[in-house]
Assembly symmetry: C2
Homo-oligomer: 329 residues x 2
């Protein structure tokens, strides 16, 4: 870590404790950290950039900001089937960031680190005249050659998703317009569930580690199910046909969707669930991965010859989708 | 890499070619990249954050911006004695960034990558309402356990620096106030040299790789020689006594320093030279590393009992230093 005057104190007070459990962080006192994937393993690395007011709601509880930026980044490790190891954090602080904010933010990171099995390895803090921004780089490990990719889907493969789709989009809408809850008929508890799905996504590490070498393609859903499945179709050279009725929705989303188009939930972002493809012959392993991890995995469609993603309703008609992969604020 | 609409095209056009030589980048089409330090080696990782108008001059040639952000980041690898491997890049684009800018920026990165022996492995691009900002995460490798640290300096060790000190500070001042050249008596060629030392620092990879397991402590000089040596004294539990007359200055800096205080050059930043300590018994290896790499390494002082960094003039008087580690704009 480096930084101007005063930044050293902040690093020592708020960030060094987050690195205490990771010897390779060298106590955040050196120019760089040391990472060791271990024998027969490769390092998986992903870098994300996130901005207040663009990628997360402004003026939020710093602990929620910590949860959102770390969990959404770790989701990229889940997509590759990686076991989490460490992360580095570049922070662009505004003048409004003071000690109380930092204390709450670093407490939030500590909670999320413990839940995710990951530790701070290094980073940098700078002051910006722009909005509060972060870049998180996450590190995980996989047995060499076993990382899940986007390009292995075959015609005939099943398409499946972890968890439920659309909750985060609904949570974001409720956070911005709480009165929608009554309109949708969702309870306070359900509204809180949806908001939590927005702020604290659940990287699906356990089931995806079990599907290394089993799933033919996988990615995490950050820009919306349809847009992200589009990456699998483009890199794998297949089409995907989804069954609208099979899309897994939470009880809260099932209520809300009566007032919305299903297409909204399929093209909204921030799910941080995993979409994957798998040979029908391996469907039993899918069931076992779901059972062992406690994370539901639902078959929602199939890879077909051609290109692009289409969603079919019960009558076999193609659902109109409008814009896909649009970021909603 | 991920990003909104249009970002995918930019990534394919301007960034994917930068990753073409690095198989672990997976063509920038997946959620993460794969890194392999190789048998018996560890990965060294460092994350930096840089902002236009704070860490580099605004409205500059994009190729110079590319040089500055990549070279200053790779300098952290040199400090640890690491061999460069790859980097990820988080970019916060402003609305003013268009195709011509990106083309020039990515060409600049291509040139610097080739010079540094490093390749793009992944990243993220987002639009910001704030200033143009970057976070670069660099990866290198060292034999396991051989990374140079800051905490190994011993009383009696020699203190040495690579290259020359203060050029970047002078270059920055000239870039902001070209008339100073006449005042300092530096030629146009010398002024161009100083500006290049600001924009295109030289990570000292070769001599530092040769000093793995030899130097007792090392770091790169980003906040100014005095401030950065202060990190070695703090983590190693020694003091450092510098000989003012021994500080290596370029011919251009030798002219300019007649009009400035030497202390300015010792407390300015952006040198991206390496400061190191080494047992006097190993001084011959230091000479050999300098000779083999063609990078001058100059002994400038010695580690002493106590704490802090002091600079002594020829009469044995302590030089007043004023503020250390201040960023000059």
């Amino acid at each position: 870590m480096s930084g101007g005057e005063g930044e050293f104190d902040r690093i020592a007070r708020y960030f060094a404790p987050l690195a205490a459990g990771f010897p390779g962080a060298l106590g955040l006192t050196d120019d760089a950290a040391l990472l060791d994937p271990g024998p027969g393993r490769q390092l998986v690395v992903s870098t994300d950039a996130q901005i207040e007011g663009v990628h997360f709601l402004p003026a939020a509880d710093p602990a929620l900001v910590a949860a959102k930026i770390l969990r959404s980044s770790v989701s990229d490790l889940a997509a590759m089937g990686a076991d989490p190891l460490a992360y580095t954090l570049a922070t662009f602080w505004t003048a409004a960031i003071e000690s109380a904010w930092l204390a709450r933010f670093s407490q939030g990171l500590a909670v999320e680190q413990a839940a995710l099995g990951i530790a701070l390895a290094g980073g940098d803090t700078v002051k910006t005249p722009g909005p509060l921004s972060f870049s998180v780089t996450v590190f995980g490990t996989v047995p060499t050659g076993a990382a899940l990719r986007r390009n292995g889907a075959q015609v005939g493969d099943l398409v499946a998703v972890t968890g439920t789709i659309g909750d985060a989009l609904l949570g974001l809408r409720l956070l911005r317009e709480p009165d929608l809850a009554a309109d949708w008929g969702v309870s306070d508890t359900e509204a809180a569930f949806l908001a939590a799905r927005y702020w604290r996504p659940s990287p699906r590490l356990a089931p995806m580690a079990a599907l290394r070498g089993v799933a033919s393609a996988a990615l995490d859903i950050s820009d919306g199910l349809i847009a992200d499945l589009g990456h699998i179709t483009a890199t794998s050279g297949v089409g995907i046909a989804l069954d609208a009725a099979a899309i897994p929705l939470s009880p809260a989303a099932q209520k809300a969707v009566r007032r919305l188009a299903l297409a909204d939930l399929l093209t909204g972002g921030d799910d941080y669930e995993i979409a994957l493809t798998i040979s029908p012959k391996k469907a039993a392993i899918l069931d076992e991965a779901a059972r062992a991890s406690g994370v539901p995995i639902t078959i929602v469609g199939r890879c077909v010859a051609g290109s692009g993603v289409r969603v079919y309703d019960g009558a076999g008609q193609v659902l109109p989708l409008g814009q896909t992969g649009f970021r909603h604020f």
